[in-house]
Amino acid sequence: MIAATDAVPARVTSGPRGRKPRRRLSRRNIIVYGTLIVVALYYLLPLYVMIMTSLKGMPEIRVGNTFAPPLEITFEPWVKAWAEACTGLNCDGLSRGFWNSVRITVPSTIISIAIASINGYALANWRFKGADLFFTILIVGAFIPYQVMIYPIVIVLREIGVYGTLTGLVIVHTIFGMPILTLLFRNYFAGLPEELFKAARVDGAGFWTIYLKIMLPMSLPIFVVAMILQVTGIWNDFLFGVVFTRPEYYPMTVQLNNIVNSVQGVKEYNVNMAATILTGLVPLTIYFISGRLFVRGIAAGAVKG
């Protein structure tokens, strides 16, 4: 369509100028965009089906036509998933799990980032003998399957009296967030100009003063990245939630699995899908809002090791 305007005839005397004209509908473009669109549809399909199913009534689901939009939109399943669905003895829906997850995620994120940023700062700017050894153990530890460490942690938590509570789970998330976050902060602080740190020391500023007055204000971006990483990671956790808490404190993911995979009663697929979307909503929202930062967060978390 627009191809004609692109191919402005070049003056022969001065030779062709500007970018090489490219036809929009070249064979190559068709292949590239065609593939990408097909792939994009594959990625979008589950989300689409989830939303469609959650808006249908059970009679309509039994008819089949899973991929078709609902003939009659109903929000009943959403209400039920949030407030009425049963897990075990409780029938107050996902709302309980949601608030548990909030009560787990908020303190875990804040505490783990606070500790990791100070660790990273100490490792980058106040190196003491042996620090690298601990750090290496920490980083190697990040690769050890959680299953290896679960039972000792159960014992430790039981000894200090927080096994089965939200506090215990917050501690666990703080521990397992530490390797990646510490690495993230250490690398960031190491990249800041050293003169700043030296000047502050000459002026007599100490460990905490430099951290609070110089390092913190300069590192907002990395804090946001760490926050995204932690919030999505902790919110999506299942294993720790199931191992370290009691049913009344189950996070949303565990509750969701219990609702959907419970064997009793008629399977209400629409409620299940609404519950699934509700559980995915928090990380999805973060992902869509933070966009570029989320990608950076993943890349930052990915360089662990």
Binding site: P46, G64, F135, L138, N236, V260, T276, A299, A302
Partner: protein, 302 residues
């Protein structure tokens, strides 16, 4: 404050950088007590006959012998091998091809990237439940295709013991390939534009440039990605729980689930410890050569 000389000419070395040391206590405790201590503890107790409670009665390799004789464990290992093999290959190939396509200066790159990466934001539980629904033979893809006229079409991986692990693989790839694509894209962007110009001048076809020039140049990215995928594979647990709970029968059991079930449901701690130690060994087999390549060979840290 920290490291100031107080009175004596030679400061006590324990008091140097005192604040930094105090601030690092959580890290030191985590590293020593949880990561090192916890691991050693589990390995030691894997040689005991602990049942309901951990007990220090050593029985040698009994737990391991029992483990490797258990059909369920063998199934778990076999599943992990199949899942791991295909997951690695497909993640890397799909991730790289998508990244290469995204690198063609396309329009709407952000939109495509957003679409491919959003599943990664979702938990394995959510992913597993969505795909459980899509692969439900009564309502999912099978029923839709049948409704279109292919009445004998059969696609029910989650209900067929022979192929159930591939059903899990589909969901895992849906969730994880976006991440691989992103890492690969970052790697491709890091490659000097001049390489492309040079290969174009030499008239080398594009695919050849990718295979023989670009991919070898991206060795670092590939290794990092490989390690990330591989250590994720060993841990796979939530996805299986959400999609099949290990069924039908024991057809989709994985080691991580074996560990959990024996530690917390069957109350056979010794078996759980032995199985988790085997997971540790698997990861070590992946990590050690990598660590050697990355950090070994003369370059020493610290």
């Amino acid at each position: 404050m920290a490291g100031q000389i107080r009175g004596s000419a030679r400061p006590n070395r324990w008091l140097r950088n005192l604040n930094a040391k105090i601030a690092s206590i959580p890290m030191i405790l985590t590293a020593l007590v949880i990561f090192l201590g916890g691991t050693v503890w589990t390995v030691v107790y894997s040689f005991t006959n602990s049942k309901l409670l951990p007990r220090l009665t050593f029985v040698g390799f009994d737990q391991y012998e029992r483990l490797w004789a258990a059909p369920r464990w063998l199934m778990s290992i076999q599943n992990l091998a199949v899942y791991g093999f295909f997951s690695l290959i497909f993640s890397l190939v799909i991730g790289f091809v998508l990244a290469a396509l995204m690198d063609q200066k396309i329009r709407f790159e952000n939109t495509f990237r957003t679409i491919m990466l959003y599943p990664f934001a979702l938990s394995f539980i959510v992913t597993g439940l969505v795909w459980q629904w899509l692969l439900n033979p009564q309502y999912g893809i099978q029923s839709v295709v049948r409704a279109l006229g292919w009445t004998s079409f059969s696609f029910d991986p989650l209900y067929n013991a022979d192929i159930v692990i591939y059903g899990i693989l589909i969901a895992a790839l849906w969730q994880g390939t976006g991440l691989v694509m992103c890492l690969m894209l970052a790697g491709l962007r890091g490659i000097d534009e001049d390489i492309w110009k040079a290969s174009r001048i030499d008239g080398i076809p594009m695919w050849k440039t990718y295979v023989f020039v670009i991919i070898p140049m991206m060795r670092g990215v590939f290794i990092t990605t490989l390690v990330i995928i591989a250590s994720g594979i060993v841990k796979v647990y939530d996805l299986v729980v959400a999609q099949t709970s290990g069924g039908p029968g024991i057809a989709s059991e994985v080691p991580a689930k074996y560990v959990y079930d024996y530690m917390f449901l069957a109350q056979n701690l010794g078996q759980g410890f032995a199985a988790s130690t085997m997971m540790l060994v698997t990861v070590a087999i992946i990590i050690v050569p990598w660590a050697y390549l990355e950090f070994g060979g003369g370059r020493k840290r610290g």
